[in-house]
């Protein structure tokens, strides 16, 4: 059961959070995006074994989304930061 440092609220327990997937950069405008590029954006992920960037929401707390780097093997939380803050 992870202990997640919410950038706004501090460390809180996993059941308060919602996992939001690996962030992907949205290609626009739609008219210029190929099927392959769009499909990759929608479905293809790095799925890193090791440090992994992901979006989380403190749904049972402040309701804010944030970025978290987490090791998918050890589950260690390496860091969290607000979206837009230096990565």
């Amino acid at each position: 059961m992870l202990l997640i440092p919410c950038p706004w609220c501090g460390p809180r327990s996993e059941p308060e959070f919602q996992f939001g997937g690996e962030p992907a950069t949205r290609p626009v405008p739609a008219a210029e995006v190929s099927d392959a590029a769009w499909g990759a954006y929608l479905y293809v992920r790095s799925n890193e074994k090791g440090p992994h960037r992901e979006l989380w929401c403190h749904a049972g707390g402040c309701g804010q989304w944030f970025l978290m780097e987490r090791d998918t093997v050890t589950h260690a939380v390496l860091r969290t930061h607000k979206p837009g803050a230096a990565a």
Binding site: M1, Q18, P27, A30, W38, P83
Partner: protein, 982 residues
């Protein structure tokens, strides 16, 4: 076996009556079920899983492989209790307990299935993989299933409530023996929040039966003083830490003998600890020798425990077989209790401990092992042989063989935490290599062999835990007298005696031969061994068998033990009751259900309540003598001809504020919402980025910078989460905020040709004229002096008004509107009636008519894709080859050929292709339409719009029954929408 007249802490003045196999027996308060059975001379308590060999109690605690019993009793609240697989060594004896064996017929003492053992040579490990194939496994399976399993489930309801607790602490100390107590003392002295946990009822761990001197006092006094000094700490006796999860979260199972009436003893704890001290001790290993599974072969440490704690002498003529010094404590205690003791010590030079034992009267056979035992339901003799010459045997009369094959540190939690093990050749044991961060190891787990070492290690661990949290402690460590170093252990695995059966896993009947077979067949990985032979997979999870099994595998594969490795230690350390795992999450609390503000009024009006999403809502309001189907027809007809009242309070209400609200929502919604005029409402779809329809609902613009969204009842949470996600991550610069006000408002809909007449009787400042409040518009104002709003939207196809007032007034408004509308025939209608009305109009219900693959064009809404310039959510996905293929399923109406036949929802439309049926879609909604006086249906049909244009007929298929229907446009009633406006 008998209870000694004196000695031990057992409460002799408090007899406890219980039964074993129906026979009345007496134990003492403080007994475990196992100690009480031994005190009553019970030898055979179970049968082994496979060969049905008679089995007796081996251990004294969690490691016990054999004494798994069926246990019934009444608790203090008078509730009948039952445990089909109770481990007798961990059960605190209560009055009236009725224990029975589980795996024998007619009893475990006289079990006819014991005959299976005669065929053992044909039933090696994994024999079932090699036979039972012809003619068919199904022929054999029922019989094999009947043979397997331990206890029998009682099919009665369990009325108990189970509880879960959550706790945080600075330092969690696992294990209340000398090391754990020393660690807790040290950590607590720093002022940190300490939790001390031990799975026994009394504190002290091995001190309870080993005794000793600490700080120049009897150890028990030191324990009592130390525990008293931990007044600020949380003390959890009778509590097993069963699992180590991520980030120092530990799972605890507390057995509360003082649980309140109606509450289960088992309570689950989630503990998040900043630092953890593990002082989990060690488990004694059996010796492996021929017929070592006989009742009367016991762990030497267990024999000592039964003697010291419960004053139970497990045998009068005892052979103690050992390869290490620890068994000599048992020898001395047995001698002192008057037993005749012979010691077979595998070591040729057993050292000073053996000399002391000899002085106490024991006969010592150095360099010798136990090579066999006799007696089927109890030991009658044992054979001792020199290890160097196993055929030179001497038979001794004996009624107990106490064995010690060395100790395995209880590394389970350490391993679960990710810790790596190292094989210590000198100790012949797997020990923790290095502690994990935030973790400290002490006592026998860390290899401490003496009381002094346990105390010192525990104290150090407590200080280290405090230091890791920046606390420094000035506390003298507890001291025990120095003891001479024990003579080293001599690793002793199985005996090289051909043609014998030597048990490694008692419960699952895995012998040395089975390991040899697995190795010969190249099931040489330790995991293959486990799975092929079932070694370590019984209810004791290999606590006594693990290392002996690894050693045998190493021997048969020509490897060293560390090369063989270990299997993974999985939680839970001891079996955990499922009820405790679930806690209060059952029945109504499993997933709480939401009630409408006017819930009580609906019940009073006779509503048939059903669950929709997480809401309990009226399906319809059957009158006396009316069926649900009749009620639905009546209510729907009333709305078409007069007026109906519907509780729509569960409909989502999300307010969107901010100067960029219009721009943001236009990026989110499929439909254009930026051009919506204040006071106007638009029906909109919301897509996922994959293009599929997530939700539909109306969007109202209240002001230039303010919108009100109405997601469907079960999607409100998902829609709000989506808005927040897109705003926070994709469009953070837009100035907009969201607020879910669903629970703040009650919303009641008055629908039907007379709806406006009824509303005109309402005290409201809102102008209800069609000029001021046209279809798809809304107005704010007061309603019966309450702040509120009225929206003209319709899901019935009739003129409709949705009136919203603060939720607390919802019930009053419901009654008020029924009163105001009485003369106009106002009729409460439920979801099912609404569903008929909306089906007549061809309005979709998300999640019913649509599914997770539906695109907007499938629903006939292609306009926004063509017209809208911005890259709204899901736009690009509507342009893929799959989204634009011509043979997609499309939303259509269906008129069954037989107007009296309502095809079931879920009926498929099929075509015959190449001699086989192929589905081209399915019916999503169907009803008898009161407006049309016939059956109607809606569905998703391949190329459905073209079929409708052609007026084509399709074949329907439902559970093998065929029928036909004509494909039409989805709207059956008032397609021009005149009734909405007129």
């Amino acid at each position: 076996m008998r209870r000694l007249p004196d000695g031990s802490r057992i409460a002799r003045a408090a007899p406890v009556a219980f039964t074993w196999e129906g026979r009345p027996m007496q134990g003492l308060a403080g007994d475990t079920l196992a100690s009480a059975l031994l005190a009553n001379g019970v030898r055979v308590v179970g049968r082994s899983f496979k060969y049905h060999r008679p089995r007796g109690i081996f251990g004294a605690w969690a490691e016990e492989p054999n004494a798994i019993l069926d246990l019934s009793w009444q608790d203090r609240a008078g509730i009948a209790r039952h445990d089909p697989n109770a481990r007798a060594t961990m059960v605190e004896l209560l009055p009236g307990m009725a224990a029975r064996g589980v795996n024998g017929w007619p009893s475990v003492e006289r079990d006819v299935y014991g005959l299976i053992d005669l065929a053992h040579r044909f039933l090696p490990a994994g024999f079932y993989y090699k036979t039972f194939m012809a003619p068919d496994w199904h022929r054999y399976e029922p019989g094999i299933r009947r043979m397997a399993g331990l206890g029998r489930l009682h099919d009665s309801a369990d009325p108990l409530r189970y509880e879960t607790r959550h706790a945080h602490c600075d330092v969690l100390v696992v294990g209340g023996g000398p090391a754990g107590i020393a660690a807790a003392r040290a950590a607590a002295a720093s002022g940190l929040r300490v939790m001390l946990v031990d799975d026994r009822a009394a504190w002290g761990g091995s001190l309870l039966w080993q005794g000793g001197t600490i700080d120049d006092r009897p150890a028990t006094e030191w324990v009592a003083d130390s525990i008293a000094g931990l007044a600020e700490a949380t003390l959890l006796p009778r509590t097993t830490v069963f699992g180590w999860y991520d980030h120092n979260a530990l799972g605890l199972l507390e057995r509360r003998t003082a649980a309140a009436a109606g509450w289960a003893e088992d309570r689950l704890w989630h503990v998040r600890a900043r630092q953890v001290v593990l002082a989990t001790g060690a488990i004694e290993r059996p010796l492996v020798f021929p017929d070592n599974d006989r009742p009367g072969v016991m762990s030497a440490a267990a024999v000592l425990q039964y003697l010291r704690e419960y004053a139970v002498l497990a045998g009068e003529r005892v052979l103690v077989a050992t390869n290490n010094d620890t068994a000599y404590d048992t020898v001395l205690a047995l001698c002192a209790a008057g037993a005749a003791v012979t010691v077979a010590d595998a070591r040729t030079d057993p050292g000073p401990a053996a000399r002391r034992a000899a002085e106490a009267g024991a006969r010592i056979r150095a360099g010798s092992v136990v090579a066999g035992v006799g007696g089927r339901r109890g030991i009658r003799w044992a054979e001792v042989a020199p290890l160097a010459s196993l055929s030179t045997r001497e038979r001794l009369p004996a009624d107990l063989v106490a064995v010690s094959g060395g100790w395995s540190p209880a590394v389970h939690l350490f391993s679960q935490s990710g810790g790596k093990l190292r094989w210590d050749e000198a100790e012949a044991a797997f020990l923790p290599a290095t502690p994990r961060p935030g973790q400290h190891l002490a006592g026998a787990l860390a290899g401490a062999a003496s009381l002094a070492a346990c105390l010192a290690g525990g104290h150090r661990a407590g200080l280290a835990a405090a230091r890791a949290l920046d606390r420094h402690v000035d506390l003298a460590p507890p001291r025990a007298p120095d003891t001479p170093a024990p003579a080293p252990i001599q690793a002793l695995w199985h005996l090289p005696l051909r043609g014998t059966r030597q048990w490694i896993d008692f419960q699952n009947d895995v012998t040395v031969k089975d390991v040899a077979l697995a190795a010969a067949e190249n099931y040489a990985s330790v995991e293959h061994l486990k799975r092929y032979t079932t070694l370590g997979m019984a209810t004791d999870q290999g606590k006594t068998s693990n290392v002996n099994g690894l050693a045998a595998l190493a021997a048969f594969t020509g490897r060293e033990i560390p090369q063989v490795g270990t299997t993974t230690f999985r939680p839970p350390f001891v079996p955990v009751s499922l009820g405790a795992m679930a806690g209060l999450r059952h029945s109504a609390l499993h997933t709480p259900i939401r009630h409408l503000p006017a819930h009580a009024e609906h019940l009073a009006d006779g509503a048939e309540m059903r669950e929709y999403g997480v809401w309990l809502r009226p399906a319809c309001y059957p009158r006396a003598g009316e069926t649900v189907a009749q009620a639905i027809q009546r209510e729907a007809a009333a709305v078409r001809t007069q007026a109906g009242l519907f509780d729509g309070s569960s409909l989502g209400k999300i307010e969107v504020h901010g100067p960029d609200a219009a721009a943001f929502l236009n990026l989110i919604y499929y439909n254009e919402v930026a051009t919506l005029k204040p006071g106007r409402i638009r029906y909109c779809l919301l897509l996922r980025e994959t293009g599929t329809v997530l939700d539909d609902g109306v969007v109202a613009r209240i002001a230039p910078d303010r919108y009100l969204l109405s997601p469907s009842s079960s999607h409100t949470g998902a829609v709000l989460a989506m808005l927040e996600l897109w705003h926070q991550t994709e469009y953070p610069s837009l100035r907009v905020a969201f607020h879910d006000v669903t629970a703040a408002w009650a919303t009641l809909a008055v629908s039907g040709p007379r709806s406006r007449d009824i509303l005109r009787r309402l005290h409201t400042g809102i102008d209800l004229s069609d000029a001021a409040l046209a279809h798809m518009s809304l107005a704010h104002g007061t309603i019966e002096d309450l702040p509120g709003r009225i929206a003209r939207v319709s899901f019935t196809g009739e003129r409709s008004y949705e009136i919203s007032v603060p939720a607390g007034y919802g019930a009053a408004l419901w009654q008020h509107l029924l009163t105001l509308g009485r003369d106009d025939g106002i009729t409460p209608y439920g979801i099912e009636s609404l569903s008929v009305l909306r089906a007549e109009k061809g309005y979709i219900l998300i999640g019913t008519d649509s599914d997770g693959m539906t695109l907007p064009d499938d629903l006939g809404m292609s306009g926004p894709l063509r017209a809208k310039k911005v890259d709204f959510v899901g736009k690009r996905s509507l342009l893929t080859p799959d989204a634009t293929r011509p043979d997609r399923r499309q939303f259509v109406g269906l008129l069954p050929a037989d107007p009296g036949f309502v095809p079931a929802v879920g009926t498929h439309a099929v075509v015959q292709e190449g001699g086989a049926r192929r589905s081209i879609g399915w019916i999503t909604t169907s009803a008898h339409s009161p407006a049309l006086g016939r059956s109607i249906a809606l569905g998703m049909i391949e190329r459905g719009r073209a079929l409708a244009d052609a007026g084509a007929e399709v074949e329907l298929f439902h559970l093998g029954q065929a029928s036909r229907a004509v494909v039409t446009a989805p709207c059956f009633h008032d397609p021009a929408g005149e009734k909405l406006h007129g």
